[in-house]
């Protein structure tokens, strides 16, 4: 690994690199033999390099012609390294004018999980940031942290020096990139709509109008949009607007939120048409000592006019952030193409990833039953309120509301429960270099994939859409996933410019001037995906009709109960435990200890899940399952590995897995209908009936 072996092969070469990296390269300057050749091939860096449209501030560092390997047919093209990404551009690639990124072969630098160089028969060398390449590589392998694999081979034609240079450039760029670099994101003046003209744009929830429109869509009449955080002075991690009970005043909200961790008080996530609400909230702030009025305000917000409240301790029974990260690392190691198959199943079990998926699904399923079938209001409480709360609330909505299972619905949920709610994407995905990396969002996507897999006719989006979302989290084009808080996003996009002087003294280069272009978001799929690919986002089996007659259920009259709630429960470990009061500060309990956060009776039932009982109070009564509710299976045999995502690096998985039955039939159907239409309109009936090509699962006829 270390430079000792460097000279052994006698193949050390030098190369030129962009001037700003000069200091780092001191080590790498043994006698150079091919400088002239390098110069020659360097000169076309601007001309010979395929026209590359760059992101703002992006510079091409090195490039080399090569061949994409691993899949038939091999694809000639160019491997390019810039200071933001590594990409492979196939020969003759004709991107659309406005699409800068291609989805298939672009790797953001932060997405590179492992870089390997292979030479002939020798063992591959793993290239870490700062290490030295010891030979001229025949092939470079880039393992993405999103499980993609790019293999670029370099032929005999004397291209190895170029390959060497590009490899070193990647090493350098990664080292540089590690130093907490924030992408600015792109702004194009040209409006680029999301999925296409037929779909309404995803509400970004940055204006009160968006929130108000969403509220109306939910039919949440007992709620209003609060502007108390408009200047991010209640909480920087919260969105500027959120929903609070109609009868509360902004001053009460401000007071109450102060007693929650990071100022994240209880807010509405979703209003069930049957009358119940799903709320999310941060943990109670332990050190605070609220007065009577504050307690009342807190209770008012938590109760939100309901007589029965169920508090859910979100982290209970769910994996911790460290667990998630560890499981994901193990999963990545398992899914490397050279990993052994010998003990595949126990190795898979050993990652515990599927276990975590299962526990999330189970908890979400339990909560959905509470909210929809039992019509109880549920408050999700997590200390930080920025991770698993988002996961649970999103899953509950997807399980309970058929409307959320459309493409639009899912994007709205992600925008609201993750982006606007302040999920620290940058930190969790390892972009900020901190230690708090944990791919909670990817865990959510896996849970969602399980649902899509189990209910193939219930979701408008397909697995490909989830893959696209999965791959978008590190792409440096939009700030959607590359910020930790809504505040940072607002600073960036410039909407916040009037406040920058007060709140962000060192404001980055936000666009100055009157014209504020609309920032691009991840929902502008046209940026990275072709029309053909976007068509694949749609699930051909989607069957939205079968529950429309009985959904939505009739709103039950929910009388605003002025008094204290009739019953309060804590839902924990599959059991409902009665609580005496909503918040823990009353009766001299001004500080909290983790064990006695609430006055609760621990149930001492055995660990066996079958023995668990919810202990529902009798007046709740049994109620039938609403027709739109999905109850996922979460048995061992039912939780599957998302092969098309995690095993993408394995060549055997890349081909031949998609049986085009449904889409093929859809094509035929469309063709026949078209034919029939032409005929009935009196055209000549000489056309061939069957010209279907089974190899094109999604022909433009759709």
């Amino acid at each position: 690994m270390e430079p000792g072996r460097c000279g052994g092969g006698g193949r050390g070469r030098s190369f030129n690199i962009p001037p700003q990296k000069e200091p780092n390269m001191g080590l790498l300057r043994p006698k150079s033999m091919q400088v002239s050749g390098m110069e020659e091939s360097r000169s076309p860096q601007t001309s010979g390099c395929p026209a590359l449209r760059c992101l703002p501030g992006e510079q091409v560092l090195a490039w080399a012609p090569g061949v994409r390997r691993g899949l038939e047919p091999e694809l000639p093209g160019t491997l390019i390294c810039t200071n933001q990404r590594v990409l492979f551009r196939p020969q003759g690639w004709q991107g659309r004018q406005d699409s800068i990124l291609s989805s298939d072969y672009d790797f953001a630098l932060s997405n590179i999980g492992r870089l390997e160089a292979v030479s002939g028969l020798g063992r591959p060398q793993i290239l870490r940031p700062g290490s030295l390449l010891k030979f001229m590589p025949d092939e470079i392998l880039i393992h993405g942290r999103d499980f993609r694999l790019l293999r670029v081979g370099f032929g005999e034609g004397g291209l190895e020096p170029l390959a060497f240079r590009v490899a070193m450039a990647i090493i350098q760029a990664r080292a540089q990139n590690g130093q907490a670099q924030q992408y600015d994101g792109m702004t194009l003046s040209k409006a680029c709509c999301g999925l296409g003209p037929s779909e309404p744009p995803v509400p970004l929830l940055e204006t009160p109008e968006d929130w108000e429109a969403e509220r109306k869509k939910h039919g949440a009449r007992g709620w209003r949009v609060s502007t108390v955080n408009e200047r991010f002075d209640v909480s920087t991690s919260l969105s500027r607007y959120f929903w609070v009970p109609r009868q509360t005043l902004d001053s009460e909200v401000r007071k109450a939120f102060g007693h929650f961790h990071q100022g994240r008080g209880p807010r509405l996530c979703w209003h069930h048409p049957g009358g119940s609400d799903l709320l999310r909230s941060g943990g109670f702030y332990e050190a605070s000592d609220p007065n009577r009025e504050d307690i009342r305000a807190v209770e008012l917000l938590l109760q939100a006019g309901h007589s029965d409240i169920v508090l859910v301790d979100t982290v209970d029974e769910l994996p911790s952030l460290a667990d998630i990260q560890l499981a994901h690392l193990r999963l990545r190691a398992l899914c490397l193409p050279d990993a052994a198959d010998e003990k595949w199943l126990s190795a898979l079990e050993g990652t515990r990833w599927l276990d975590h998926v299962r526990s999330c699904l189970r908890k979400a399923s339990d909560i959905s039953v509470l909210v929809t079938s039992r019509v109880r209001s549920v408050v999700l409480q997590e200390q930080g309120d920025r991770d698993l709360n988002g996961l649970l609330s999103s899953l509950v909505q997807l399980l309970s509301a058929p409307g959320a299972r459309t493409l639009y619905g899912l994007q709205t949920i992600v925008q609201r429960e993750w982006v606007a709610a302040g999920h620290p994407f940058l930190t969790r995905l390892g972009g900020s270099g901190g230690s708090e990396e944990a791919p909670v969002f990817l865990l959510f996507l896996d849970c969602l994939w399980q649902l899509v897999h189990q209910f193939p006719a219930e979701f408008e989006f397909s697995e490909f859409f989830l893959l696209a979302l999965h791959d978008s989290v590190r792409v440096p084009d939009t700030p959607t996933f590359l910020r930790d808080t809504p505040w940072e996003r607002a600073k960036q996009s410039g909407q916040f410019s009037s406040y920058t002087k007060v709140y962000t003294p060192g404001s980055p280069q936000s666009p100055v001037g009157d014209l504020v272009p609309r920032p691009l978001t991840v929902w502008d799929w046209g940026l990275r995906y072709s029309h053909q690919q976007i068509l694949q986002f749609y699930n051909p089996c989607y069957e939205p009709h079968h529950c429309s007659d009985s959904y939505p259920p009739k709103e039950q009259p929910t009388p605003v109960t002025p008094g204290p709630p009739r019953s309060i429960f804590l839902f924990s470990r599959g059991t409902l435990t009665p609580l005496n009061q909503l918040c823990p500060w009353r009766d001299g309990f001004s500080s909290l200890t983790s064990s006695s956060r609430w006055h609760l009776r621990h149930n001492t039932s055995s660990d066996s899940l079958a023995d668990q009982e919810w202990g529902l109070p009798p007046h709740w009564g049994p109620s039938p399952l609403p027709p739109g509710l999905l109850l996922p299976g979460f048995l061992g045999p039912q939780i599957r590995l998302w092969r098309r995502c995690y095993l993408r690096g394995r060549p055997e998985v890349q081909t031949g897995l998609s049986a085009p039955t449904v889409s093929g039939l859809l094509d035929e159907l469309a063709q026949l209908q078209e034919l029939l239409r032409t005929w009935s309109s009196g055209a000549l009936p000489g056309v061939q009936t069957k010209t279907k090509d089974p190899d094109t699962p999604l022909s433009p006829s759709r």
């Binding site: 193939p456 069957e543 919810w614 529902l616 049994p622 048995l635 049986a659």
Partner: protein, 691 residues
């Protein structure tokens, strides 16, 4: 825990008195020991006799709301164990698909795997004479159903009679002539072949073999022979089979069919797949010499042109052993034979490692791999392949059938597949009687070889559904029919045994027991076998690690998978770890926890059928316009048309059919129906409020 819900739940229910007898008078005569004024309708097949019965038995059902019982009668006939209960199947929840012979609560005697009794909450396997009778009977079935019958409210002498009856009739060794098959056949004499004409080739005439030779263009180098007509040569071989043209009649009869290459199938390039029964291990030197000379002669003949080079695959020693298959499957099936939910949840946490330690999936993988290796020889290296096994009737059947399924698209049609089973398994002399242990004579011979084959085919169907005419449901139903003794197909050890028995039966001759000649036992000396097994493993490892054959295999495998699949051509499975899966439809169909309402593959299937229907009707419309004919009324093939959402267990979802109760997460919901419970809860609740 087990008995908890039973008493309160269903004890009050009584069988419905409104009974109509469906037993016809002539059947009353055959059931001489039977009184027929029963309160429930027992459907008896022709020739079926009621043996014993017990009333007020509770069938315990575990559903989301805990356990409850259905009161009814447990009967045992010479065909099945049946529970006749007052299940409210009258409403709209009548299952759309059901087996015509076996009802939901019927267990054929051959389907019973293991019987347990519960004594004071302890579960013990039951066999032989009992001193004490259990309060609860648990029956594990070979199709992975589990039944719980509570006998607490049954009269004591009835308990004795039914328990000992069931144990005797399912576990005691039986004579072949006692198979229900014969009573059924003689009672149902005139059996007109109804339904569509037979398109499955039975391979019981020389014409069938010639047809097959012609189909595969093997008729130049291979010939069908009738040397074994009337089983003159050998009782293991079928009456007609195919051998190389150059083989003489004497060669065939020389060693009772051992040591001669028998043709299975010809590849498009003329290479053939052959099989051979090996000679038993011989101590005598001179005999060995003779055998060796004979074999050399044979090899010489078939090595000459026009025959291609020959590669031999020794399956007895270097491949999987039957013992391994048996052990593995018995571990594997335990994962699905779940007595109660809590047991299920206990195993669920360790699901993957338990599954892996059963080794079943690995055995499937090795079979598929071996088949691909054989295909590589046939297809790429242009060599003939000769499979050698001691009797050429177990692993030979698996490998040769798999090779044909993968290479010959005809075998992926339904009739083609049935013909293949007929050719390789029935005529190939697979010992169904012993391997399924239908007669309960030797548990050690019971090895699910055929099931292993079906599971391998399932992997192929799963990976390439459009390449097959049939679905996984077909395979599941086929696997079930192994245990239904009204079909003769899977109830004999060889065509000879079948012919002689069916013949003798017709002549009403008393049967002497015709257990086929004692084979060179697989499990005779276990230690010996284990050693062999270990050696085999080591050898195969070595072979795998050596470069040449493995590399060409890998290359062939990789290059095939990197191309687009032609569903009408060669079809190879993926055999990497993540790609071999559990046959979920067969294994999970009786587990209520596994039900996903509105989900599962049936949801896609529904959509596909719907669209096919639409496509067909449109096509019809277009044709009509084209021909400008009068339109015949469109009859929609609404197979699955139903307003309700189907569940993932469809079409086997018979367990969950309650209409009023919601389907809730089974782990966490409490029965709310019972007033007593509610009252208790109320108290508890008040108590808590005061704390």
């Amino acid at each position: 825990m087990l008995g908890k819900g039973v008493g309160g739940g269903g004890g009050s229910k009584t069988p419905k008195p409104s009974f109509v007898s469906y037993v016809r008078p002539e059947e009353i005569h055959t059931n001489e020991n039977e009184v027929t004024e029963k309160e429930v309708n027992l459907h008896l097949l022709p020739g079926e006799q009621l043996l014993c019965e017990a009333s007020t038995v509770l069938k315990c059902i575990q559903d989301d709301s805990g356990q409850h019982g259905i009161c009814g009668k447990l009967v045992c006939t010479d065909f099945k164990i049946a529970f006749l209960g007052d299940e409210s199947t009258l409403d709209d929840n009548e299952p759309q698909f059901k087996n015509k012979v076996i009802g939901e609560n019927d267990i054929t005697l051959h389907c019973v795997d293991q019987i347990y009794g519960v004594f004071d909450e302890k579960k013990k396997p039951l066999f032989g004479q009992l001193k004490k009778y259990p309060e609860k009977l648990i029956i594990h079935c070979k199709d992975l159903r589990v039944f719980h019958f509570c006998l607490r409210y049954t009269k004591e002498e009835e308990v004795k009679r039914i328990v000992s009856g069931i144990i005797h009739h399912t576990q005691a060794p039986k004579l072949l002539k006692r198979l229900f098959l014969f009573s059924y056949a003689s009672a149902k004499q005139n059996n007109p072949a109804t339904g569509p004409p037979h398109q499955t080739v039975m391979f019981d005439t020389i014409k069938d073999w010639r047809w097959e030779l012609e189909r595969t263009k093997g008729n130049i180098k291979y010939k069908a022979v009738s040397a074994n007509e009337g089983y003159k040569v050998c009782e293991k071989l079928p009456a007609y089979f195919v051998v190389p043209v150059s083989l003489s009649e004497e060669d065939i009869s020389c060693f009772q069919g051992r040591g001669i290459p028998i043709w299975c199938w010809s590849c498009h390039n003329g290479c053939a797949l052959l099989k051979m029964s090996a000679f038993p291990k011989e101590q005598d030197d001179s005999n060995l010499q003779i055998q060796k000379a004979f074999l050399d002669g044979i090899y010489k003949t078939i090595h000459k042109p026009p025959y291609e080079n020959l590669k031999t695959e020794e399956l007895s020693n270097t491949f999987i052993s039957l013992q391994e298959i048996q052990t593995s499957y018995s571990k594997f099936k335990q994962l699905f034979l779940i007595d109660n939910s809590s047991e299920f949840w206990d195993t669920d946490v360790k699901w993957f490692s338990l599954l892996e330690s059963s080794n079943w999936l690995d055995i499937i993988r090795r079979c598929l791999k071996k088949a691909i290796e054989v295909i590589e020889c046939l297809e790429v290296q242009n060599t003939n392949v000769l499979l050698i096994e001691e009797n050429a009737s177990d692993l030979c059947c698996i490998i040769s059938s798999l090779v044909q399924v993968m290479m010959d698209p005809y075998c992926r049609t339904r009739f083609g597949f049935q013909s293949l089973i007929q050719k390789e398994w029935i005529m190939g002399g697979h010992c169904f009687l012993d391997r399924c242990n239908h007669l309960r004579q030797n548990d050690k011979e019971e090895v699910p070889v055929f099931l292993l084959f079906l599971d391998c085919v399932w992997q192929l169907v799963q990976q390439h559904p459009p390449a097959f005419e049939f679905t996984e449901t077909y395979l599941t139903v086929l696997s079930d029919s192994l245990y239904i003794p009204i079909f003769s197909t899977f109830f004999f050890n060889s065509p000879y045994q079948k012919d002689t028995n069916v013949h003798q039966r017709q002549l009403s001759l008393p049967l002497t027991q015709t257990k086929s000649s004692p084979k060179r036992g697989f499990f005779r000396e276990e230690t010996d076998h284990l050693i062999k097994n270990l050696l085999g493993k080591r050898i195969s490892k070595l072979i795998n690690s050596s470069d040449e054959p493995h590399d060409s295999f890998r290359e062939f495998y990789d290059s095939w998978h990197s191309k687009t699949v032609d569903y009408h051509g060669l079809l190879l499975p993926h055999i990497e770890g993540p790609e071999i899966k559990v046959w979920a439809q067969r294994c999970l169909r009786w587990i209520p926890e596994a039900q996903i309402l509105g989900g599962g593959p049936v949801a896609t299937m529904n959509k596909v059928l719907e669209m096919m229907e639409e496509v067909q009707s449109l096509q019809k419309k277009i044709d009509e316009k084209h021909n400008s004919l009068m339109a015949p009324p469109l009859d929609a093939l609404s197979l699955l048309r139903k307003p309700a959402r189907l569940s993932s267990l469809f079409p086997f979802a018979l367990l969950q059919r309650h209409s009023s109760k919601p389907v809730l997460p089974t782990n966490s919901w409490k029965a709310l129906g019972d007033e007593e419970d509610l009252a208790k809860q109320e108290d508890e609740f008040v108590d808590l409020g005061d704390v």
